[in-house]
């Protein structure tokens, strides 16, 4: 009887709302806030960007001009035009070339790190790849401006080296590290028994990788590429510095172009708040947000699909 009583007292003491209980609850709440903050921020940012761009969508916006006119002349006194076709072409061409550069690099690096390198070599390579991802984009832009520019002029005898090629290579090198990390994760997720089975059937090392591991990891690898594309669309500073920032529909990789993001970065600071130009820039922002959202969501769904298998 006494024993039972003392036990119930103990239980009551657990339930007491003392200092520790409050600390516990507070910390739980803070962690909860941290957890949902990403969602709150993304909704907040989208609401803000939409609000700022909304005036334009209802007043000066013309669907055919916005998407099909190459002339971006928002400050013309007589007849301002807000066409983003050339800007979209610029972003797409630079991102496309960047993927051509980044895919072989990152896939090769991922295969080497994941399948061949062992021990210290593997660890140090992984650290170096992550270090590469930490280089600020303005430094990449500077490399484009002061190293790649004269190099491209000298190698190809073109009048100016700030063009699709320059920005594409720079952006490819920038996107490669993150693509390598994710591709390597995808390769690692392929169970070892696949490899063992292939080897048991007499496959060579190359055949194991090419015929077994890569097909099994293809969703993850596709996700890695899509994340690279998302990075390419969103990258601003390096693209601003290396493309030449010229409104142009490129006919070759040696033509200077201009990216959507770079246009916002270059013009927003000096635009009167609430003017049609300002709102048009935010409309570009909405457009960019939607594109990157769709790309990243697709990539995420594909990668998640891999994990669930």
């Amino acid at each position: 009887m006494t024993q039972e009583l003392s036990r119930s007292v103990d239980l009551a003491s657990f339930d007491r709302r003392d200092k520790d209980w409050y600390i516990d609850k507070t910390i739980q709440f803070i962690v909860f806030l941290g957890g949902i903050s990403a969602i709150l921020f993304i909704i907040g940012i989208f609401a803000f960007v939409t609000k700022e761009g909304f005036g334009f969508l209802f007043e000066d916006f013309s669907f055919s001009e916005f998407f099909f006119s190459p002339w971006w002349e928002p400050t013309d006194e007589d007849e301002p035009t807000y066409g983003i076709l050339a800007l979209v072409a610029g972003t797409a061409s630079v991102t496309g070339l960047a993927m051509l550069v980044a895919i072989p690099f990152s896939l090769g690096a991922a295969i080497y790190i994941g399948e061949f390198a062992t021990g210290k070599k593997r660890e140090s390579l992984k650290v170096l790849v992550e270090l590469l991802a930490a280089i600020p984009s303005v430094v990449w832009g500077f490399i484009g401006l002061s190293i790649m520019n004269p190099l491209i002029i000298a190698l190809f005898d073109v009048p100016v080296g700030l063009n699709v090629l320059n920005a594409g290579v720079i952006l490819g090198l920038m996107a490669a590290p993150i693509m390598t990390s994710i591709a390597e994760d995808a390769l690692k997720a392929v169970p070892d028994r696949y490899r063992e089975a292939a080897e048991a059937l007499g496959a060579t090392r190359w055949q194991v990788i090419f015929k077994t591991v890569i097909p099994a990891a293809k969703n993850g690898l596709l996700g890695a590429v899509l994340l690279g594309v998302g990075r390419g669309f969103g990258e601003t500073m390096a693209v601003l510095m290396a493309t030449g920032h010229a409104i142009n529909i490129p006919g070759s990789v040696f033509d200077p172009v201009r990216a959507l993001t770079a246009t916002i970065a270059a013009e927003l600071g000096e635009t009167a708040v609430g003017s049609p130009h300002y709102e048009a820039l935010f409309t570009i922002g909405i457009f960019l947000f939607l594109i990157t959202f769709v790309i990243n969501l697709t990539a995420d769904l594909i990668v998640r699909g891999v994990r669930e298998q």
Partner: protein
């Protein structure tokens, strides 16, 4: 413990508020905002004015002509700086918001056309500039303007311009492209596709310095020894004028732009004193030292 802290906070607060009150009653603060071209001069004026009238403080900030003009429209600034004139639309908007912007020309800036050091062609007419820069312009190669540039293999002209909200860009479009379009030299008074739009006056000069095929425009104050400046003529056949503070001052250089300050209504009281001082010899000599041409004839010691 808690009461003590609250008390000390409230004391600090009171001191701060009373200090601000003292300052407000003692000094007049003039808000001055706008053009990045003018910001260095405006800053120098504000600093020097402290020695003239210590009870007037001028708060200067940059942000671009558009920012200054927007602040004038919203009535949040006493003096707006601009390297371009206010557009008709902007003046109408300001009037509808109850402001009455009054324009003052406080100096001139010669817009130099820069070319690579190798470039032998140093004479260009406004029409030739329009053919190079304008939409529908016919000059895409240096041979079209009669030049052969060593080191520029393809002979293509690399056209360097500015971002579209820069006052320099707006002035060049108006003074070169729109005026040429009026004369029928080019079809439309706007820039061609594929100009490299740099984000600052200095960036233009830097790029031209490194690119043999390039041509670019920027304020005279940004000239370096490594680039050539074109001698500009009003019409082909006219004698050309090289950009300098002198040729900008006597208006013989065809593409010199006025630099503006806008006040709300005719300036009164301390703002009038400040504007008068800026246009006096003392104020104008400070502007001259910064590499711009004064608004009127002055003597500096």
């Amino acid at each position: 413990m808690r009461t003590k802290r609250t008390l000390s906070f409230s004391i600090a607060g009171t001191v701060l508020i009373s200090a601000m009150a003292v300052q407000a009653s003692d000094r007049t603060i003039i808000q001055n905002k706008g053009s990045d071209t003018l910001v260095n001069v405006a800053q120098a004026w504000a600093e020097e004015y402290q020695n003239v009238k210590s009870d007037v403080a001028v708060a200067v900030s940059g942000g671009g002509s558009g920012t200054g003009i927007a602040a004038m429209i919203n009535g949040t600034v006493d003096i707006a700086n601009a390297s371009r004139a206010m557009k008709v639309k902007e003046v109408t908007k300001a009037k509808s918001m109850g402001q009455n912007p009054v324009e003052h020309v406080v100096g001139y800036d010669a817009l130099a056309v820069f070319m690579h050091g190798n470039n032998p062609n140093v004479n260009l007419s406004i029409e030739q500039l329009a053919q190079i820069y304008g939409r529908g312009g016919k000059s895409q190669h240096w041979s079209d303007v009669g030049a052969d540039v060593p080191g520029c293999g393809s002979g293509e002209i690399v056209v360097v311009s500015r971002q579209n909200n820069s006052g320099t860009y707006a002035y060049f479009r108006k003074a070169v492209l729109k005026s040429a379009a009026k004369k029928g030299v080019i079809s439309k008074g706007s820039f061609r596709m594929g100009t490299l739009d740099m984000h600052g006056s200095k960036d233009v000069v830097d790029l031209v310095e490194k690119t043999p095929c390039a041509i670019g425009y920027s304020g005279l104050a940004y000239a370096t020894d490594h680039v050539k400046m074109a001698c500009i003529s009003k019409a082909s056949g006219d004698s050309c004028v090289t950009p300098s503070v002198e040729t900008a001052s006597d208006r013989s250089y065809p593409i010199a732009r006025p630099l503006f300050m806008y006040t709300n209504g005719k300036p009164q009281g301390e703002i009038k004193n400040y504007m008068d001082w800026i246009l006096s010899d003392t104020g104008q000599c400070i502007l001259l030292k910064k590499g711009y041409a004064p608004a009127h004839d002055i003597t500096c010691n």
